[in-house]
Amino acid sequence: MKRSYLFGLALAAAFGASQAGAEELTGTLKNIKDTGAITLGFRDSSIPFSYLDDNQKPVGFAMDICYKVVDAVKKELKLDKLEVKLNPVTSSTRIPLLANGTIDLECGSTTNNAERQKQVTFTNTHFLTASRYVSKKSSNINSIDDLKGKTVVSTAGTTNIKQLTEANVARNLGANIIPAKDHAEAFLMVETDRAAAFVMDDILLASLVAGSKDPSIYVISKDAFSKPEPYGIMLRKDDPAFKKVVDAATAAVYTSGEGQKLYDQWFMAKIPPKGLNLNTPIGPELKAEFAKPSDSPDPDSYKPAM
């Protein structure tokens, strides 16, 4: 009897102690303060959002935004020094690594949608992209209806292949849809004529085309399979204190015009390592979102400014 009473007391004391400490800082912010370090997850080939340059250093539009967030976190916690650790992630490892605390922010090109919000959360949208297709000019595919009966590839497990499957049924295309392991391989299928078209986020298509052997033989469609969908920097769910800091930091970047400057640097000018220029002017929806930042997963909430 006595023993269990003592044990209960000890437990209560321990619990109370951890509660008292948690009152000031919780979750990720506390962890960052305790360790003096923040870990950013980066992708190795998500051009121009997050990828390795010729010095094997992660760079990109999303990386730059993440560094702004790091500055804000440093200021918030009043730290003199904040170490930034970088950790590579892939589409399969980003969730476990975020969940187990290996990374604090995922800086890449992850689509923010309602389904994924059940597991993670996103800060303000940094890009909007629609689902389009790339094909060879020589195959003369000018609209989605021209895909009738053709072989069309998309990357397995993406929202794009889902939209393609839906369009295939809804528009009676009868296209033969094949899934590919990743974007590079899907593009290779078009390059080697295994598939007539590759359906993907238009910005990723633009970077694949720009990086191909002969960019002039490809064309990206005008027709889109979807409304523009938001990309967001991913963070752990149920950590409102950290999300507040990150949201404020990204909002400050977008509304101050810094966002536009970064955009032009990565999408309108030559980028490392090969000096490609994606030449993709900012769309009206994203421009409106930068003026009024939003973390909504709903494509319908992003409208061009009037």
Partner: protein, 243 residues
């Protein structure tokens, strides 16, 4: 760990509109079984032929067997599948290459044949070892009875050799099933591929791969049990694996 477990996810409809997430994984499982079985049949047939070639008295035959085995077992399976799928059609004359590329279910056939060839080299080595482990007197006795080479193999050597190598063949069969996971690299959505797409859609990565693990485990348990039954059924009393 900040992770939201949701074991009900399997009963939720998948975004491809083909039923639930469980249906998605099951369709992957069927594809794994289909690819694995097709590859295993190819591996067994070709492996037996090449294994026999390597033990024939003819110099040329054993050299061909040697070259075959070394070619297929010394290259990673991933590289082989990639070569068959992407490189081979480019090396053929253009019209043939185009025909090959436009074949329906190309990833399935490429995977079945590619994995089958890779595994056949291993089966061949097992069989060669099995034949080599037989006492030399058996072959001589067969010759003394007036059997020719084909008869010697068919009636004396192979029936014994196959019985001896049944246990390692079980491992090779299981390896064949597991190797089908490599086929996601050429776009075959087998069990691992479906688990990956499930985690991309739902972000429930641990649930997806736990289910895939359990399915692989059950499938391979069935194979092990079936092979044990075969072993017992064909065992010869008084001989190595017999009782």
């Amino acid at each position: 760990m900040n992770y939201h477990w949701n074991w009900h996810i399997f009963l939720e409809p998948n975004p491809m509109g083909t039923g639930t997430y469980l249906d998605m994984l099951l369709s992957g499982l069927w594809l794994t079984i289909g690819t694995g079985l097709a590859a295993w049949i190819i591996a067994l047939v070709l492996g037996s032929i090449v294994g026999v070639l390597r033990t024939l008295p003819s110099r040329a035959a054993s050299w061909i067997g040697f070259a075959y085995v070394e070619f297929f077992r010394n290259m990673p399976l991933l590289v082989q599948l990639f070569l068959w799928f992407f490189v081979l059609p480019e090396l053929l004359p253009r019209t043939w290459g185009l025909w090959l590329k436009q074949l329906p279910h190309a990833p399935f056939y490429t995977a079945a044949i590619g994995i089958g060839l890779f595994m056949s080299a291993r089966v061949a080595e097992q069989l060669r070892a099995g034949i080599g482990s037989l006492p030399r007197g058996q072959k001589m006795a067969a010759t003394a009875l007036g059997l020719n080479t084909v008869q010697t193999y068919a009636y004396v050597l192979l029936p014994m050799a196959f019985r001896i190598i049944l246990p390692p063949l079980t491992s090779e069969f299981i390896n064949t099933i597991k190797n089908t996971a490599v086929a996601i690299t050429i776009g075959l959505l087998e069990l691992t591929g479906e688990a990956r797409s499930m985690q991309e859609f739902s972000f429930q990565v641990f649930e997806a791969f736990t289910a895939a693990t359990v399915m692989y485990l059950l499938l391979n348990l069935v194979i092990v049990t079936a092979m044990r039954l075969i072993e017992r059924a064909v065992a010869i009393p008084g001989y190595i694996s017999g009782k």
